[in-house]
Symmetry: C2
Subunit: 244 residues, 2 copies
């Protein structure tokens, strides 16, 4: 074993030196499989390791006390997850596998070791944190100010784009891998209404569906309907100190 998912992710942002790369590899020395449906961290449990997701799709969610669930974020290979362990004694969020997955657990102290030796990686992780933050604020604005249809469309686009990042062969057709209830928990809607919105989006000719697969028929219109902003253009990391 030699690669580092997380280093690859950061490497998409800026050039990584071999020394930095091998420091990041230390975060992925251990591997742990997670079966579909299983949780590696549960809300209110004492926090433990952080993780790097190596394989599969997972989600981060919170339960409200009326029993409803809010999905905060879908997680893909190369994501560093469970970072809330850095600040809290008990986890504020649950981390669950949506498909059979593999995570690499590592201790919190390992992170400060890495930053201690390679401060530039600390700065880079702050950048990574801001990208994550902006994804959250986009979702916040979507929940607060866009229609049910737009929110459902946004989930479709976001899922396709992120799946494509890990598998370049994905084009306009992909496997969503979410139940309508899960889409509802991500968008703040009921499963019933998600169903109606999907149907409406389909009837308008923006997508086609067949047994779990979604095909974008009119991507431009879908993006418009979703109010979608692509944050992956427009990155600028020129201020980072150059690699040494």
């Amino acid at each position: 074993m030699s690669g580092s998912c997380f280093a690859e992710r950061l490497g998409d942002l800026v050039a990584i030196t071999p020394a930095e790369h091998s420091a990041l590899e230390r975060l992925e020395e251990r591997e742990r499989p997670v079966r579909r449906g299983a949780a590696i961290q549960r809300e209110n449990d004492r926090v433990g390791d952080l993780f790097i997701l190596r394989k599969g799709v997972m989600m981060s969610s919170m339960l409200l006390d009326d029993g409803s669930r809010q999905i905060l974020r879908f997680l893909f290979p190369g994501d560093m997850i469970g970072l809330s362990s850095l600040a809290y004694r008990e986890a504020p969020e649950t981390l669950t596998a949506l498909s059979d997955s593999v995570v690499c657990p590592f201790e919190r102290a390992m992170l400060s070791e890495v930053i201690g030796v390679h401060p530039r990686l600390g700065a880079l992780m702050m950048v990574y944190g801001q990208i994550e933050r902006t994804a959250l604020t986009d979702r916040l604005a979507a929940l607060g100010r866009t229609s049910a249809k737009a929110r459902v469309a946004a989930v479709l686009i976001d899922m396709r784009n992120r799946l494509r990042m890990m598998d370049k062969s994905i084009g306009d057709t992909f496997t969503l891998g979410l139940t309508q209830e899960e889409i509802g928990d991500a968008t703040g809607l009921t499963a019933v209404h998600v169903n109606r919105m999907l149907r409406q989006i389909e009837e308008e000719g923006l997508i086609a569906r067949s047994n779990g697969h979604v095909t974008f028929i009119n991507e431009r219109a879908l993006i418009r309907a979703a109010n979608y902003v692509d944050r992956y253009e427009g990155l600028d990391l020129g201020w980072l100190p150059s690699a040494r």
Copy 2:
């Protein structure tokens, strides 16, 4: 001038060495007043400096293309703001003063300098970032899964708690400093509905209102109505390397 708002904030989390403290002070060497209503960063404008808010209350918001606005976060003294400049060429969010304020602008490169000399501060800023992130996810869950009344109540509680952090003399009565339209933009509601929810919360005996002041009459019930979770208990930074 000698203090550092941001160092004070971090100092609430963990002990800061004098050397670290003076490094943080460099981030607050310049001061700039901002009048109520003025913006120090506008969505889609080329990003510039980062800021530390020294005085006043500000907000971070996004505009949607139908003209509606989502307030992402209220900002208080000691907050480091505009961090999205670390990752993007154009700002994803607007930063506006809600009251006459004072900010300390500093360059992005300054941040990597500080982290380079004091890696432990880099780790500490990641912790700070996770606290911010959790505040956002709590709001996300509130928008997605709680009633209008709960969301309005949550704004009241959050505002009171954060105002009290900068002014210990604040008890159950405080000046909200927000219009009902602003509360609506924060909660994803219309100003009209915010008005009705405030009235309802008042009629139920949870709060009292008089010209801009709010008084908590039954805080326990208000917290229950809001689904409020206090994240300031439960912090744990034991994993950080000790100060040297």
